[in-house]
């Protein structure tokens, strides 16, 4: 019998879906499956779509899927919603605006809870990208609410990050400047038919002045995702960022940084579970000794590690 990884890469949707769950649950055996998949990754173009709640990200993603499908690309989507910090549960409703694509075999959509990652992207999400990449999707779109850590995280996963803003939501550009300006490869002013859109574009442009002289200065697209206005143009601009990343080597740099984080993360995870096992048998005794000042924490740690 073939492995889950083999079935998934052969196009078995259930297997793909199961792999993503395993990655999310950190299920036993997932790492060896990821090892199998890794050689097949590296082909997909990953686009991050982030922005405030209510900015129209899902509708925009829906239209982008349509755009890329019309160009013949297959598309995988990972839509991340926050999890309840109390129960760990979540209601994931991003699909709602993309459901028309469920009938299309060239589109795979998956909703993910942010789970314990404090607003950031869970490891499951990051591995979800690799899984969809290995399964041959040309484009992987990650849609995530731009709060806290996730917008920084999205840069660590995506080749191209697009930040969606909308007039009248009280987006304070000045306040967002520090975080967002650094991660955005493109800006989208969505609901551009609303009053205040021009002013918002103007404000973003003002902020971008600071980036003048860089190799890549983010562009500002205007869209009305509801009607699809401006989406084709946005698609083109996303593509030109991809071309820039390829030609300039910026993409490679980003990839290397991403891999560094990934390898370190895997090592840290392994080490921390090793640390657990290093002293399970002597924990009580050592704690007592340190508590009574017979030993100090530093010596204990050094000694335990030296046995590793």
């Amino acid at each position: 019998m073939s492995t889950l990884a083999e079935r998934a890469t052969a196009g078995d949707v259930r297997a793909m879906a199961r792999l993503i769950s395993m990655a999310e649950d950190r299920a036993d055996g997932i790492d060896s499956l990821m090892k199998e998949l890794y050689p097949r990754t590296g082909r997909a173009w990953t686009i991050g779509v982030t922005g405030s709640p209510g900015a129209g990200k899902s509708t925009l993603t829906d239209k982008l899927i349509g755009h890329f499908r019309s160009k013949g690309s297959t598309v995988g989507v990972l839509a991340v919603d926050p999890s309840s910090p109390y129960t760990g549960g979540a209601i994931l409703a991003d699909r709602l605006r993309m459901q028309r694509h469920t009938d299309d075999d060239g589109v795979f959509m998956r909703s993910l809870g942010a789970r314990g990652s404090l607003g950031g992207l869970s490891r499951g999400t990051r591995e979800g990208v690799l899984i969809l990449d290995a399964c041959g999707y040309d484009i992987v779109i990650i849609e995530t609410v731009g709060v806290g850590q996730s917008e920084i995280d999205v840069m660590r996963v995506a080749d191209t990050v697009c930040v969606v803003l909308v007039p009248g939501l009280g987006d304070d550009i000045q306040a967002m400047k520090a975080g967002i300006m650094e991660i955005a490869d493109l800006f989208v002013v969505n609901k551009a038919d609303r009053p205040g859109a021009d002013r918002l574009v103007h404000e973003v442009r003002g902020v971008l002045e600071f980036l003048r002289g860089r190799d890549w200065v983010p562009t500002i697209s205007q869209t009305v995702a509801e009607t699809g206005d401006g989406v084709a143009e946005l698609g083109e601009r996303l593509l030109s960022h991809r071309e820039y990343s390829g030609k300039s080597g910026a993409g490679r740099e980003r990839e290397l940084a991403r891999l560094k984080t990934k390898i370190e993360e895997i090592m840290l995870e392994r080490l921390s579970s090793q640390v657990e096992t290093l002293w399970t048998d002597r924990r009580e005794e050592l704690l007592e000794a340190v508590h009574e000042r017979r030993l100090d924490p530093y010596t204990v740690a050094e000694e335990l590690l030296s046995r590793a």
Partner: protein, 135 residues
Amino acid sequence: MSDKKKIRVVIAKPGLDGHDRGAKVIARALRDAGMEIIYTGLRQTPEQIVTTAIQEDADAIGISILSGAHQFYFKRVIDLLKEKNASDIIVFGGGVIPEDDIPSLLDLGAGAIFGPGTPTSTAIEWLEKAVLTKS
């Protein structure tokens, strides 16, 4: 190293029925019980519901229907799951479903039908147990 497996449930409103109070209440109750709920909104075709459940690797599909078209939709969803080799996905439901109709829905392969007035805790307990025995 394995985290606890999360129960994932698609809550679906098939067909044209717009009464989603029950669907939303059960979605919230399941969330508060620690599950991940994929909520697809109104007017879903059986095809959409089944594809969603598969892509989402859902453990279960909860169907809420008040329009009287339950026989039609349960049958279609369960048939499609079979067709797609996904019969292990549990199907349960609720809404305005006369008691006399419940046996035939269970015969089709529905795991449970929760009629009006069922406490959400009953559904949660049932679902947790059903998912556990399935895997």
